[in-house]
């Protein structure tokens, strides 16, 4: 199943289930959560100390015009002790929640890395790559932000409201009901405004993205714009986008400004009502002056977190959505499943064979599954060098991927050294078979680092030996720092041809029995071309080699040429045979010759 389908399915999972599943994937999140909450409750006690102290002072400290100083001082001492103790409880609760969150999210991240590296290539293609990076960074970050703020607020605010509510009820349940009654309309108003605010912020984000991309595009296109004297209209275009963004932000700011003091406005009305009803009920109801004053303070405390709470709810929704996406990745089955009872590849040269192999990518977005390969049978004896040719979409790259077990065929089987690749342990396979991709990927480090990617334990001498074996000494010597030359981001400090040479060296360090070469299409200068051709010849010597040939000169050099069309073998034989046969291959070859001739 593909990431998209899984995400669809997971989207139906409720918030509570999602959180439960999240805790299952990151057990550190849930560990000791109960005790943390108990500590938070004790911590909240510190915040009701002052209202209670005032009540006590007024009722028992200032009796009939007399001030009982000794009582008040004792009261103050006790209050100070409670405040400090509560502060310690709160500190511990915050610390426990925070560290548990970091521990849990770290575990979740590492699980994600591991899982993503093992996803099949269909779930790993370029369009999805950005999304995968977003899962391990921004989605996990929404969870981090949640624990740093929203999660904390849930814990502290809920504890505070609970404790305050208890004290209120203890003072006078009628007044408590009055205070509680305000919460419902307040929340309704807040939710309404909040919803508009969320929409307004969506527009801000959109405007922001548009503006930033308009700016960077205009700067990137400066030469084109200047060449056509079109800077002015381009600037006007950007100014329209900065204006749109400013408007959206100002609007969102206004809605936010309205929302901000709403809790306080409600508090004022509630306090006035509470005092009015309290005064009206008076002594008869067992109320005292102190408890009414204390109640007034408690009312402010009680309503204080509510405005914040509506934001917290939104943040919680965002976090749950992030968690859902993360779980969606973890629920996606990993690529070709590892062999259960691995069979060791036989020693010596290995042949490769495809038996009735059919391959189709899973259907996606209304597009039905179409076969990329259809019942393809192909036997490559040990040591043979074959070239796969054909138009793009003919299935050449798919054959290479299936042989390298980067994907499994839908039907049929593939054997290497007469062993089904599905039964070969990954480590075993990677030691005996290597792929040189069309666009070789290099890591932003030295050439040596990139070579050791294939052979982590290789010594400097071994790297030098590999360079000599492929006759690339003169090239390495021409580089400023030799093997220690930095290749830049994705190898950008090297020319395309140089990246290919690194890839060939890297492949040679594995010393594979089967070599799969996806030929590059980019043109390189003549000297590099010669070096690459020489290195390729050296590298493929004595190895079973499958070349995906874009230049038909490569095909002409191979032992055997296989022309693929629509996932089937159309022609198969040596270059000379096929040219003599006068079929599609000859036509392709002739057309190619004409194109490159003056």
């Amino acid at each position: 199943m593909l990431v998209d389908d899984i995400t669809q399915e997971v989207r139906r999972r409720g918030a509570v289930d999602t959180i439960r599943a999240g805790i299952a994937q990151a057990p550190a999140l849930g560990k000791g959560l109960g005790f943390t909450f108990v500590l938070a409750l004790f911590g909240a006690a510190g915040r009701v100390t002052i209202p209670i102290s005032i009540q006590q002072a007024i009722d028992k400290g200032f009796v009939a015009g007399e001030v009982r100083l000794e009582f008040i001082l004792r009261l103050c001492g006790a209050a100070a002790a409670v405040v400090l103790l509560a502060a310690w409880c709160q500190r511990t609760a915050v610390y426990r929640l925070g560290t548990a969150a970091e521990e849990g999210l770290y575990g979740l991240r590492v699980r994600l890395f591991d899982h993503i590296h093992r996803l099949s290539l269909a779930d790993q293609n370029e369009e999805r790559r950005g999304a995968l990076v977003a899962r391990v960074t921004s989605d996990i970050e929404t969870l981090t932000m949640f624990f740093a703020w929203g999660g904390l607020a849930w814990m502290l605010d809920l504890s505070l409201m609970f404790v305050v509510a208890c004290v209120m009820i203890a003072y006078d349940w009628v007044l408590a009901v009055v205070a509680f009654a305000v919460v419902a309309p307040l929340i309704i108003v807040l939710r309404l405004v909040q919803r508009r605010l969320v929409r307004a912020y969506d527009r801000v984000r959109e405007g922001n993205a548009q503006m930033l991309s308009a700016v960077s595009e205009t700067v990137a296109g400066v030469e084109t714009l200047q060449a056509y004297d079109a800077v002015e209209p381009a600037l006007q275009r950007v100014q329209a986008s900065t204006k749109r963004r400013a408007r959206a932000s100002i609007r969102a700011g206004f809605i936010g400004a309205l929302l901000f003091p709403s809790g306080e406005v409600f508090s004022v009305f509630t306090v006035v009502a509470v005092v009015g009803i309290g005064v009206w009920r008076g002594d008869a109801a067992g109320l005292t002056a102190g408890s009414l004053v204390g109640f007034m303070f408690l009312t402010y405390r009680f309503l204080e977190p509510i405005a914040e709470f509506t934001e917290v709810i939104d943040q919680t929704q965002t976090a749950v959505a992030g968690l859902r996406r993360v779980l969606g990745i973890l629920d996606t089955p990993i690529g070709p499943p590892p062999a259960m009872n691995p069979v060791a590849l036989p020693p010596g040269r290995l042949g490769v064979a495809l038996h009735e192999v059919t391959f189709a990518y899973a259907p996606r977005d209304d597009e039905p599954a179409t076969n990329v390969l259809t019942a393809l049978t192909l036997t490559i004896p040990p040591g043979q060098h074959i070239a796969l040719v054909g138009e793009s979409g003919a299935g050449k790259t798919t054959v290479a991927r299936l042989v390298a077990r980067l994907a499994d065929p839908t039907h049929g089987r593939i054997t290497i050294g007469a062993v089904n690749v599905k039964h070969v342990a990954n480590d075993d396979l990677r030691r005996r078979l290597t792929v040189v991709p069309q666009e070789p990927f290099l890591f932003a480090d030295t050439i040596a680092y990139n070579l050791r990617f294939a052979a982590p334990t290789a010594s400097d001498a071994e790297l030098q030996a590999a360079v000599r074996a492929l006759e690339l000494e003169d090239w390495i010597a021409s580089l400023a720092d030799g093997l220690n030359t930095q290749v830049g981001q994705r190898g950008s400090a090297l020319a395309a041809g140089e990246r290919q040479m690194v890839a060939l060296l890297r492949a040679s360090l594995v010393n594979p029995d089967v070599l799969i070469l996806d030929e590059a299409t980019s043109s390189v200068d003549a000297l590099t071309e010669v070096r690459i051709a020489r290195a390729l010849r050296k590298l493929s010597q004595g190895r079973t080699t499958i070349s995906i040939a874009h230049r038909l000169s490569t095909a002409a050099r191979a032992d055997r040429v296989v022309l693929l069309a629509n996932g089937r073998v159309l022609e198969d034989g040596s270059h000379e045979d096929l040219m003599g046969r006068g079929g599609d291959y000859k036509r392709m070859y002739d057309a190619w010759l004409t194109a490159t001739r003056a």
Partner: protein, 567 residues
């Protein structure tokens, strides 16, 4: 900071006004609490009752104060946003228009991403300071008004407040600075992690091909552990300090109750006043907390502004186009022109060249021989060090090696905002052999291209770039290896179309495909920044050894193929 305010002073001061109203109303609201206690609650329980009117009067005062305070908040926040956003817009527009007037040579010495950031995220960062500034001003007013009120009511309590307020403020700021450090470290680690994850996922094919999944996961886990460490450090600090800072106002309030009780005994203050002070302290402690965020914003904003200033203060360099003179007869007339690379090395040396109207000229040369520089000079994109450039037209269409398309409508991409008739656009698409694929893709002139729209192949992009040059009525076409991304038959069709335009278009084309070169009237062979030879392809092949060597290198692939075929 003041520089930021100066762009839209009016909005800013409305926000500050709102902030002042908020601050005064905050202090008054604790006066309201005092009235409720002294005039309503205490009389009820001490003397056995008050009139409804008394309650209504006091309640009205409390409610009005609360509403005024709310209005102050709304005005402050709204106009702080207006000032912030208007300033961000003004500065971004000014910065970008300055940047775009710098010539290509200036841009080539800098990274595109960095330049774009100056007009984008940096101006945003600079302007954000306007958001919390009015709030900070309200905190100052709040502290002064409440301090004065406290002193007037009770000198000792007032003095106490003037000691405690600043102390709490300093505590908050110190804490903020420390915790920001850890968050900054965490942010840096997150950036590193994101970059590494991107790289690792991008290279998934290599990772899988070499069975390096575990090693790569561990590499990312190491960075994640550093991130966790930074975050845990922040949490440790935060849990301790925030609990203390939360507890501080309560402790101060305990002290006020104790000390206030002696003042009440002496008859120096009422119980209502005492409670009001306790209430006031609760109200003031939150703004003290929040204002410390302002101090953590400051360096961020200041560095953003510094980066913006840096590019704004660079004087505009002269536009190279201004040095190009009109020519009466020849289309292109270069006399002893020399030009330098950004690093100062010679790109062109003493080049003299005349091209007549309607001709097609191929420019051939090895990498680094100065072909691209020659075209950019003629297009007025870069300037000459010496020599004169005369052109027979001002309508020059340079088509770059890499076509640059905007994530905008097809129409915008063809006209770059200029007013071009529909017919001219259609004709341009036809000549550039782009009409076919545009139709096949079902693209209309209003379809968006690029990231969010239709994605195009390299050859298709090149043809659109050529169509752009034609649609904009170029009389002199400069094609920098433009057609090499096309397949040979399309390339031949495009070049034939251009020749059919006759005298109305003169074409200079950098070419490496022998078939393309053969289509030109004249070939200019460049080597080491100079014109080594000129003539027809056949003549040069016969007479010039270096030219022959270069052409055979271009043909290398073909020969290679033929040789093996002969084997």
């Amino acid at each position: 900071m003041w520089a930021m305010v100066s762009f839209h002073k009016g909005y800013f001061f409305i926000a500050v006004g709102g902030a002042a109203v908020f601050a005064v109303a905050t202090v008054l609201s604790s006066y309201g609490v005092q009235l409720l206690i002294d005039d309503v609650i205490l009389p009820t329980f001490d003397t056995g009752g008050i009139t409804f009117d008394t309650w209504a009067r006091v309640s009205a005062v409390v409610v009005v104060i609360g509403l005024v305070r709310a209005v102050g908040v709304v005005v402050r926040r709204t106009y702080a946003g207006v000032a912030n956003q208007s300033t961000a817009k003004t500065v971004a527009d000014n910065t970008l228009s300055h940047l775009m007037r710098q010539p290509a040579a200036w841009h080539r010495q800098r990274m595109t991403g960095d330049i774009a950031a100056r007009a984008g995220v940096d101006t945003d960062a600079a302007a954000t300071i306007l958001g919390p500034m009015p709030f900070a001003s309200s905190v100052v007013v709040l502290l002064i008004v409440s301090g004065v009120w406290l002193i007037v009511t009770d000198v000792w309590l007032g003095l106490f407040a003037f000691t405690v307020f600043p102390l709490m403020l300093v505590m908050n700021i110190l804490y903020q600075r420390k915790v920001d450090y850890h968050y900054q470290v965490a942010q840096d680690e997150l950036g590193a992690l994101s970059e590494a994850a991107h790289e690792s996922f991008d290279g998934v094919l290599v990772v899988k091909a070499f069975g390096a999944e575990d090693r790569e996961t561990e590499r990312l886990a190491v960075i994640s552990r550093r991130l966790r460490k930074a975050r845990t450090n922040a949490i440790t600090l935060r849990s301790t300090f925030e609990s203390l800072i939360d507890a501080a106002p309560s402790l101060v309030n305990v002290a006020i109750i104790g000390f206030g009780a002696t003042r009440v005994r002496d008859g120096a203050m009422t119980v209502g006043e005492l409670s009001a002070f306790v209430f006031l302290f609760t109200l003031v402690s939150l703004p003290l907390r929040i204002v410390s965020y302002l101090f953590s914003e400051l360096p961020h904003s200041a560095s953003g502004w510094a980066r913006v200033q840096q590019v704004l203060n660079e004087p505009l360099q002269r536009a190279p186009r201004a040095a190009i003179l009109p020519s009466d007869d020849a289309m292109v007339d270069l006399r002893n022109v020399s030009a330098a690379h950004v690093d100062g090395a010679f790109a062109l040396r003493d080049v003299t060249l005349t091209v007549h109207r309607g001709r097609t000229v191929a420019i051939v040369g090895a990498t680094g021989s100065g072909k691209t520089t020659l075209l950019h000079l003629i297009a007025g994109l870069v300037g000459a060090k010496s020599g004169t450039i005369r052109l027979g037209t001002t309508r020059v269409g340079l088509v770059f090696q890499e076509a640059f398309l905007f994530a905008e409508s097809l129409r915008y991409n063809l006209t770059l905002g200029a007013d071009v008739a529909q017919d001219a656009i259609n004709r341009a698409l036809e000549i550039a052999a782009a009409d076919g694929f545009v139709r096949d893709l079902g693209v209309s002139l209003d379809t968006e291209l690029g990231e969010r729209g239709v994605s195009l192949s390299g050859g298709q992009r090149q043809r659109l770039a050529l169509a752009r040059a034609l649609a904009m009525g170029s009389e002199l076409l400069l094609l920098d290896d433009t057609t090499s991304a096309l397949d040979p038959s399309t390339e031949a069709a495009v070049l034939t179309n251009l020749r059919l335009l006759g005298d109305s278009v003169t074409t200079l084309v950098v070419a490496s495909r022998p078939s393309t070169i053969a289509l030109a009237d004249t070939v200019i062979f460049m080597a080491e920044g100079n014109i080594a030879a000129a003539g027809t392809h056949e003549v040069l092949l016969r007479a010039n050894d270096a030219y022959r060597t270069l052409i055979s290198a271009f043909e290398h692939d073909r020969h290679d193929g033929e040789n093996s075929a002969d084997r």
